[in-house]
Symmetry: C2
Subunit: 241 residues, 2 copies
DNA sequence: CCAAAAGTGTTGTTGATACACCCATGT
DNA sequence: ACATGGGTGTATCAACAACACTTTTGG
């Protein structure tokens, strides 16, 4: 937008029509997939007024970084995960979302492969723990709302683009992938129809490997084909199940 | 998120790790539909450093209002439009999106019926003008980017929910609706197939009225059926064309 | 041999697509 | 009469759902 004349900028005058904001934070919903459950990484904070309470991983956005950069940094500081799938949800701006102060938060969600992940001791975090998404406790501030929104967003996005792969190890079986979709979308899928549909998309590369140490017929392993995805992504892609 | 210990809050210390932000603004992409064209309302600002330049309608978010409230207020102040369809896009946070100051903006888009609309003289706006979306000039700051993002979002949302109706008068013909979709999505549709599909959805109420003063066979008028939409919306709805 | 999951095949139904055609009305 | 858009009907094809079936492997 355009700024009012200079004597009304937030810098020169904090008290008039635009008293400004006390701060902008980033809060990040970290999704993981374990066995057959969609889970979220929550943290218990070590300092501040919300000490001991569970909440999303968050932090301040610095003046010289974008929100995307801030989100990547904050996730990296805790998990050492790099190059992860990360997407902005929206800004949460309810004036009383945080008591006392006027703090706007920009919500993010990320999809991580739990095998890669490795919690670091962090200055501001006592503990971090994965929660199944149907057993989420009461969280600080509006974090339950942010989480709910992120789930909606995840369910929508997962139907339109193959982002679900980010939750799986590099090599996976078709049924693992199917269970992932079933869990995220909360529906049941037909094995046969799922195979046909997903293989038709040409998004998977069949590997010359099979599962090891399973007490039943070993399934073929596949990996996601990022190349052909790029080609397909331009003309749209239907992921409905 | 959780705050660091009190001596590090943005209030008590502006210079440490979280120097904060100079302000949060709202910028709003106002879409309208005229004849067969999708258009956007742009404004020319009367004051500030960007005087005379075209940009999106924007303004500051006040301390005591949410971003949604601010967006509604800002649109109302210019157009007197109330109860309009309005949706947040995302926060735009590039550190140098605005020179000199660190200003984050929360983008919105709205769909308005151009028949209802009535520009008001506004303190901060010299002029407002509708631009066809393929003839958008260079805008201030990152407003071209915001506009581009809003178009993407509009194209996605319009396939999933019947929000397009907000761009039309209350009573409309099937071909008007079809042209709207053609224009937004940039595709050609088959008249016959479109009719079948849209009427099958039961989202339209056929009125006992016809077009007036047209130099060809008058078309039946329809209106959007908000009731059955609510019922359908819970179990999802496919708007693909 | 049995349990458990992997993987294949078949069939009916639905819905999208492409087109051809007739209808009403103002000039 | 003809141009313009309104409106109907139909044949073809691809996608999907439902479900029955066979295969492999460990215990």
């Amino acid at each position: 937008m355009t700024f009012p004349s200079s004597q009304h900028t937030p810098q020169s005058d904090h008290k008039i029509t635009t008293p400004g904001i006390d701060g902008i934070t980033i809060d990040c919903v970290i999704f993981g997939f374990n066995k057959a459950s969609l889970e979220v990484l929550l943290v218990q904070h070590a300092e501040g007024e919300s000490i001991g309470k569970w909440g999303l991983l968050g932090g301040y956005m610095k003046r010289e970084e974008s929100a995307d950069d801030a989100a990547h940094r904050i996730v990296y500081e805790l998990t050492s995960l790099d190059n992860i799938y990360l997407e902005q949800l929206k800004a949460f701006t309810n004036p009383d979302r945080v008591p006392e102060r006027r703090v706007v938060t920009i919500g993010y969600y990320t999809l991580v492969n739990r095998e890669d992940y490795n919690i670091k001791a962090s200055l501001s975090v006592i503990e971090a723990k994965w929660y199944k998404i149907n057993t989420i406790p009461d969280l600080i501030f509006d974090h339950n709302e942010i989480l709910k929104f992120s789930l909606m967003q995840l369910r929508n996005r997962v139907r339109q683009a193959p982002i679900g792969f980010n939750l799986l190890p590099e090599k996976f079986t078709l049924l693992q992938l199917m269970h992932l979709y079933e869990e995220i979308l909360g529906i049941e899928l037909d094995k046969s129809n799922f195979r046909r549909k997903i293989l038709h998309m040409k998004l998977l590369i069949a590997l010359d490997e099979k599962q090891q140490d399973v007490s039943h017929r070993a399934a073929k392993l596949y990996k996601f084909d990022a190349e052909t995805y790029k080609k397909l992504t331009e003309k749209g892609l239907n992921f409905e199940f």
